[in-house]
């Protein structure tokens, strides 16, 4: 109960602190940076999971093709991952720029 009261007090103080527009912009930018990266990570996460799963499946089916599958898998991962990394860059831009 006391902890809750502390949090409420901190929140209230934080709310009081937001008076000048620059700080308000900073805080909203930080919040949206978190959202941006969180959203950007969903799709590539699923995509990379699918890529690795399928690659393991095909390597298990045809171990003699493992080298080719691995190379292609890394290329696919690189393309998919680029989206998440662009999200990360957006995060840095929003948070620090």
């Amino acid at each position: 109960m006391e902890a809750l009261a502390t949090i409420v007090r901190i929140a209230a103080e934080a709310g009081d602190a937001v008076v000048d527009p620059a700080a308000a912009k900073n805080i909203s930018a930080a919040a949206s940076a978190g959202h941006a990266y969180g959203l950007a990570a969903i799709g590539p996460g699923i995509g990379i999971g699918i890529i690795f799963g399928k690659a393991i499946e095909s390597m298990a089916r045809q171990p003699e093709a493992a080298g080719m599958v691995r190379t292609t898998m890394f290329i696919g991962v690189a393309f998919t991952e680029a989206l998440a990394l662009i999200g990360f860059v957006a995060f840095i831009l929003l948070k620090f720029a």
């Binding site: 860059v89 840095i92 831009l93 620090f96 720029a97």
Partner: protein
């Protein structure tokens, strides 16, 4: 002081954290291009040449080993062929000897058989002769007995030729 400067963060906060800085870009470019030049022109060809040379050496060693192995295999094959030849010769000789032996035994058997036959023939002949002689004696005795008996009965000596024919007739008849 100079060394420790490396580890100090810059005092001015500078531009955006993701903007490239010119000095880093240019120095990075310079060091990469120098690296690329040195690698492309001197080092990689040299190391690659060394690798190829060693691989070729290893391949040559492989081929030499292969040749040695095949020559050894040829030797073994020749030896085995000689062995087979000798074995065949030995078998042939044994066969020949056996044949000779067989032939000699056969010859001896035949000879022995011939000798046995000759002996048997001889014995037969002797027996025949003895029988003929004994029959002659018997015929003479019978003839004299007959003559004597006829003389006693008839009072006169029968014709010798007649007696002989009669005796022969009986003996021959009894024999046949």
């Amino acid at each position: 002081m100079l060394i420790s400067t490396i580890f100090l963060a810059a005092e001015d906060l500078g531009p955006n954290p993701i903007a490239p800085e010119n000095k880093e870009l240019l120095w990075g470019a310079g060091s990469f291009l120098v690296f690329l030049f040195v690698m492309r022109v001197f080092l990689v060809p040299k190391v690659k040449k060394g690798m190829e040379a060693r691989y070729n050496g290893i391949r040559g060693g492989h081929e030499a080993a292969q040749a040695a192995r095949s020559s050894a295999q040829r030797d073994v094959a020749a030896y085995e062929a000689a062995l087979v030849e000798v074995r065949n010769e030995v078998t042939a000789r044994i066969d020949k000897a056996r044949q000779t032996l067989d032939a000699e035994r056969q010859a001896k058997v035949i000879e022995a058989n011939a000798r046995i036959l000759a002996k048997r023939t001889e014995a037969d002949t002797a027996m025949q002769t003895a029988r003929a002689a004994s029959r002659g004696d018997v015929a003479v005795a019978v003839g004299s007995v007959t003559t004597r008996a006829t003389q006693l009965v008839l009072g006169k000596a029968p014709d010798a030729a007649l007696v002989k024919r009669a005796v022969d007739n009986i003996m021959g008849g009894s024999r046949s």
